[in-house]
């Protein structure tokens, strides 16, 4: 008897829930990010940015597109920073979950691997991947809502080389496509700035002991060590071990915000005085409010890329509203391209990249050079793509 009552109640609730669901349309957004391994701090920052943007829309009663309210739902998959796993996840997102929008991927190899699926099916992706090949005129559905080394390296290196009077630089890179590409870019950026990348070392990504390599670099007597191209954890280990074996020169991190993780791994003492790229100005009110919300919600330190993906997701949702559709991704893409002077949490942003990539799908935003003091970033120069001061 009791059991039948219970069953009745349960099915009643189920019917009610079904009715409630029917009122609201659901807009599914995929988050294909790295949640395990070395790139996890970037991936989590992106996923949570998408979740918070979705939360904003849902709190306002759903995303209003052409009079219909959509409940925004984020579906997350982990690619482990690997191209093959990203392809599996992209297939599931596109063909089983039927999403038309994907936040991700974190890595360069994964985005290049999933583009044949997403571009073919008109799925809009927002990637962090730094490779120049991610954006091109024949990949019209891919956007990059964060600045990359290509945008920030030269102005930043010019400034550091000049202000710290650096002549020779040593660097360590992961032994793969990403590492090779960055090594080439960095070498020419230092040459343009009037310094020389005298020692380059390549290592396998899972390496944790850098002392033998650093011994070699130090034996050549360099003024500075460049960390660009390394995951936050690896960069932290390099900083700690370089200081451990007595390196007293300048340490520079050109690309990718990772200061918090580097300080976590290396310790505040070892990281003291290093120059880092910062995409994030804590003096900016909207930015610090976002950071506060992030730490309050997730109880975790925020990765510097996260606010860019929050803005990126918001811009994507705005584009759907302006296009008046969630299904016609071509219209949404055009609406997204047409957004100008968007006031995001990171400041005023625009799309750029026509010259460099042949398509204006690259975010243009202000950025900064910071010095690490007492484990925190202190901004020492403000930059645009034209230069720093």
């Amino acid at each position: 008897m009791k059991l039948t009552k219970l069953l009745g109640a349960v099915s009643g609730i189920a019917i009610l829930a079904g009715a409630a669901m029917a009122e609201d349309q659901v807009l599914k957004i995929g988050a294909l990010v790295t949640q395990s391994g070395a790139g996890a701090s970037w991936g989590n920052g992106m996923l949570r940015a998408a979740e918070m943007a979705a939360e904003d829309a849902n709190e306002a009663g759903g995303l209003d597109v052409g009079g219909t309210k959509y409940k925004v739902e984020v579906i997350a998959y982990d690619d482990g920073y690997k191209a093959n796993e990203a392809v599996t996840a992209a297939n599931r997102l596109v063909f089983e979950d039927k999403v038309k929008y994907i936040i991700g991927t974190v890595g360069s190899a994964p985005i290049l691997a999933i583009q044949p699926i997403t571009e073919e099916n008109g799925v809009i992706t927002m990637t962090l991947g730094f490779t120049a090949e991610a954006l091109s005129p024949d990949k019209p559905y891919t956007f990059r809502p964060n600045p990359t080394t290509g945008e920030v390296a030269q102005p930043q290196i010019d400034w550091v080389v000049k202000s710290q009077n650096i002549k020779t630089v040593g660097a360590l890179f992961p032994n793969d496509e990403t590492g090779e590409a960055i090594a080439k870019d960095i070498a020419s950026a230092y040459a343009n700035a009037g310094a020389e990348l005298t020692v380059k070392e390549f290592f396998e990504r899972d390496r944790v002991d850098f002392v033998p390599l650093l011994t070699r670099i130090l034996a050549k007597g360099v003024d500075a060590i460049e960390l660009d191209g390394n995951s936050p954890t690896t960069a932290g280990q390099i900083v700690q071990q370089a200081r451990d074996i007595g390196f007293e020169g300048v340490i520079i991190r050109t690309g990718g915000p990772a200061t918090q993780e580097i300080v976590n791994v290396a310790g505040a003492a070892a990281a003291e005085g290093m120059f880092v790229h910062s995409a994030f100005n804590p003096e900016l009110e909207t930015a610090s409010a976002y950071q506060q919300r992030y730490t309050d919600t997730y109880g975790d330190t925020m990765n510097g890329f996260s606010p860019f993906f929050y803005d990126g997701t918001k811009m994507l949702l705005l584009a759907m509203q302006e296009a008046g559709t969630v299904d016609d991704t071509e219209a949404v893409r055009t609406a997204l391209e047409n957004i100008t002077n968007y006031e995001g949490v990171v400041g005023t942003v625009n799309w750029t990249g026509e010259e460099k990539y042949g398509i204006a799908h690259q975010l243009d935003s202000p950025f900064y050079i910071a010095r690490v003091e007492g484990g925190a970033e202190v901004i020492v120069a403000k930059c645009t793509t034209k230069g720093c001061e």
């Binding site: 944790v208 390599l213 954890t233």
Partner: protein, 287 residues
């Protein structure tokens, strides 16, 4: 040049000691229980997290934390022997698969509890010892010192105590050892416990050098595996020799050629040993 040679030698010996701590536990678990313990790397990870909890959360001195880590790991090992490995005593393959499952459970357990991000671990010592041009980081010297003390303690226990003799007898021949009164019900859990404790203490020692996260176990497991294959599965002197060889080889190749060359050379060495001395440098053939 002579500076680089001496410096590489120092780096290599430090690295070799670290590998040895990992490999001895691994080879002991195999020698005693005939289990290829793929979860060994995860006990390294657990040791690192124990050190993190002890030092940064509870504010205990490093030495006390290390002692607690060892005690906890022995108990944990004994428990795991009873719950996970006991049903597979005579079955190497199933035991190996059980250990793979155990590794996944432990790694993902840590992921749920601590999250994927690397955790901050304070340096236990800073600065360097300088001998002329040569540099030894104090943090590594400390790790090396404690590692050597632990290895010596283990050696004395193994060679000069009743328990150690029992353990060695068990490695040589289980049936005859039990006929001579070696109590398997005590030796199995304790043997695995000590093996695991060595991995955990290696993790706790490495934590200030290499950081703490749920994913740190795989590299040390691979190194332990290489060392044990080179030295001969189940042979402790073989492991000692192979660990030093591997550490010095890696250090020299990384410093003089490149890091990738070190990885290539390591596996060339493994293949060569497997081809020409399949039982390892000091292995004693199939038991």
């Amino acid at each position: 040049m002579s500076f680089l040679i001496a410096q590489s030698l120092i780096n290599g010996v430090i690295l070799g000691t670290l590998y040895l701590l990992m490999a001895i536990g691994f080879t002991l678990a195999f020698g005693v229980m005939r289990i290829v313990n793929f979860a060994h790397g995860e006990f390294y990870m657990i040791g690192a997290f124990m050190a993190l909890i002890g030092v940064t959360w509870l504010g205990l001195p490093y030495g006390v934390t290390l002692a607690l880590t060892v005690a906890f790991a022995i108990l944990l090992g004994a428990l795991i022997e009873r719950v996970v490995f006991r049903p597979f005593r005579a079955d190497e393959l199933s035991g190996m698969i059980a250990s793979l499952g155990l590794a996944m459970i432990l790694q993902h357990g840590a992921l749920i509890m601590f999250g994927p991000d690397p955790q901050a671990f304070p340096s236990m010592a800073s600065g360097v010892y300088r001998l002329g041009d040569l540099i030894v980081p104090k943090s590594r010297a400390l790790t090396l010192g404690i590692g050597v003390v632990i290895l010596l303690g283990f050696y004395v226990m193994l060679m000069h105590t009743r328990f150690g003799r029992g353990l060695r007898a068990l490695v040589q021949d289980q049936e005859i050892a039990s006929l001579y009164g070696v109590r398997l019900e005590i030796m199995y859990p304790l043997g695995l416990g000590i093996g695991i404790a060595l991995a955990a203490v290696a993790g706790a020692l490495m934590a200030p050098l290499f950081g703490v996260s749920p994913f740190i176990g795989s590299t040390p497991l691979l190194k332990a595996f290489i060392v044990v294959i080179l030295g001969g599965l189940g042979s402790i002197p073989g492991a000692a020799l192979a660990a030093m060889l591997l550490g010095i080889l890696e250090s020299f190749t990384s410093s003089f050629v490149s890091a990738s060359a070190a990885d290539i050379l390591t596996f060339v060495l493994v293949i060569a040993v497997l081809l020409f001395r399949p039982s390892g440098i000091l292995g004693r053939g199939e038991a």
